[in-house]
């Protein structure tokens, strides 16, 4: 597959790989796990969020093709320092455009957008329960 330089860069030098917390009860961290092994695409995105609702840190792990890995790496860069609302409004189109994803790989950017939303939803669920 002929990928853009930006995509290749994210793949060869992925940003923010890893896990913030393996404790599912950690209230500072929202975890989004999207996709399915059967589809060949699984993304795990963790967001560490301050009490003010700012995304302080982001880490990802992805099982998927070059486009999927690059999309999730890019997403961690895009959300760091942003508020929850700003992160929720990130659309897959921005991701696809930035990486110049080929049409057949657009779904990777959709999954990355889903991962953000899933992680934030998880964070909110954990913190609403307390209230």
């Amino acid at each position: 597959m002929a990928y853009s330089d930006k995509l290749v860069k994210h793949f060869e030098n992925p940003q923010n790989v890893g896990t913030i917390s393996s404790d599912p009860n950690n209230k500072e961290v929202g975890t989004g796990l999207v996709g399915a092994p059967a589809c060949g695409d699984v993304m795990k995105l963790q967001l560490k969020i301050t009490d003010e609702g700012i995304i302080e840190d982001a880490k990802f792990k992805t099982f998927g093709c070059g486009s999927a890995i690059a999309s999730s790496s890019l997403v961690t860069e895009m959300v760091k320092g942003r508020s929850i609302n700003e992160a929720m409004s990130i659309s897959n189109r921005e991701i696809a455009k930035e990486l110049d994803l080929p049409p057949v790989k657009i779904h990777c950017s959709v999954l990355a957008e889903d991962a953000i939303k899933a992680a934030i939803k998880d964070y909110q669920k954990k913190n609403q329960v307390e209230q």
Binding site: F11, L33, G35, P37, G40, K61, C65, I69, D114
Partner: protein
């Protein structure tokens, strides 16, 4: 390594320099049409063609009159299956039945699908997890109106070798007992030059040959059509000057045929001299190096009944296309959905019952005549390092190592 290592010899092979050398004069000086009977240019061309016929026949234990030149194995497969079927229909005034495994090359599968559209019935034989067909299933599928049974010698993706001689014996026995005209076609593209082939001993009636899979040029192949009783009649796909006994019209590409002949001669040498065992040793070296250093590796298809140069392995929890990007200094291929235009994972792996998630992680290596131990050792280091890196990035590997059963997870697929 400064260059890219070529470990994709099932996809195509480089032209052996000796093949190129043999071909060039037929482009530059000896450019006559082999069908020109009246002058030296034509006679020289014809001699070269007939010599190549002998070289190819020798490779498979056939007679030179049994070799028909085509543009490649795709055409040979089409000619064998449709040629037999169309003659059957023209002769009997009705359509009939074909038997073929689900793991055949697309040239065979789609030829059968085309005939299905004309009303032909096809029995698609399943394979077990080893990739082998059931001989009992074959026997019970044979019918009085079965025109052809088509089974490839060795599979292009997993390298698995079918029990060809047994299949040939079954078809022949059925034909003789029931007085049908049932024929056995074998796509031998991946097996030539890698294992010994004897069409007589194996009772093969039709056999497809490809140049570019055995260090010859692309765009040339052949179809072996057995002579003798019962006589095989094929309806040509291409009409014209009546070349190749009316089976395949078109001026013979002499330089291509010379290349195919030389490639066949060298392929026979590889098998007869045991040189192919060096390639097997490279494949084994690669596999041993990988499994000694990595866990969760799974061979796809039978290890015992496999081409000596094929390694098709799933690296669990690492997706195939990402793997190939990571090991871009090695040319190979993957059965992952992400590498196919249709986003469907390999149908061959699915037919084996390989779970979809493992199918996404499969890589096919095909070692060849020009690979070296140095290349293999370098490749092992690269692959092991990259698999470890990608597994560090894999949420699935993380979950599995934490003791989670992936099958128990409620995946939120979109």
């Amino acid at each position: 390594m400064n260059k890219i290592l070529y470990f994709d010899n099932h996809s195509t092979t480089p032209c052996d320099p000796r093949v190129v050398e043999a071909m060039v004069p037929y482009l530059s000086e000896l450019y006559g049409n082999a069908a020109s009977r009246s002058h030296q240019f034509g006679w020289d061309a014809r001699d070269a063609v007939e010599n190549a016929r002998i070289q190819i026949a020798d490779l498979i234990g056939a007679k030179e009159k049994e070799i028909v030149f085509t543009s490649g194995a795709t055409e040979s497969n089409n000619l064998a299956i449709k040629g037999v079927a169309n003659y059957f229909t023209r002769n009997k005034g009705k359509v009939g039945h074909i038997i073929t495994p689900v793991t055949e090359h697309k040239a065979v599968l789609d030829s059968c699908h085309a005939l299905e559209r004309d009303g032909w019935e096809v029995t698609w034989l399943e394979v077990n997890e080893d990739g082998l067909i059931s001989l009992d299933a074959l026997k019970s599928s044979l019918r009085e109106d079965t025109a052809v049974v088509s089974v490839m010698y060795a599979n292009n993706e997993i390298g698995v070798i079918q029990p060809i001689a047994k299949i040939g014996a079954i078809v022949k026995a059925f034909r003789e007992e029931n007085k049908t005209g049932t024929l056995f076609h074998c796509d031998a593209v991946q097996a030539l030059g890698r294992v010994p082939i004897d069409v007589r001993a194996s009772n093969i009636d039709l056999l497809s040959i490809s140049g570019h899979k055995m260090y010859g040029p692309k765009g040339i192949g052949a179809l072996y059509v057995r002579r003798g009783r019962p006589r095989i009649r094929l309806e040509a796909l291409i009409d014209g000057g009546g070349h190749e006994r009316g089976m395949r019209s078109g001026t013979l590409p002499v330089h291509q045929i010379v290349g195919l002949g030389k490639a066949a001669e060298l392929a026979k040498e590889d098998v007869d001299s045991g040189a192919i065992e060096k390639v097997r040793a490279l494949r084994d070296r690669l596999w041993n190096g990988l499994k000694e250093n990595l866990d969760e590796l799974y061979i796809n298809g039978s290890w015992e009944h496999r081409l000596p140069n094929n390694l098709n392995v799933s690296f669990a929890y690492v997706e195939g296309e990402a793997m190939m990007m990571a090991i871009k200094k090695i040319a190979c291929s993957s059965g992952s959905a992400c590498t196919s235009a249709s986003l469907e994972p390999s149908y061959v792996l699915r037919a084996l019952g390989v779970e979809v998630e493992l199918a996404h992680t499969s890589i096919r290596f095909g070692m060849g005549r020009f690979n070296t131990e140095e290349e293999v050792d370098w490749a092992i280091d690269l692959i092991v390092g990259k698999v470890r890196q990608l597994r560090d990035m894999s949420p699935l590997y993380e979950m599995v190592k934490a003791g989670i059963d992936l099958k128990s997870v409620d995946w939120v697929a979109h």
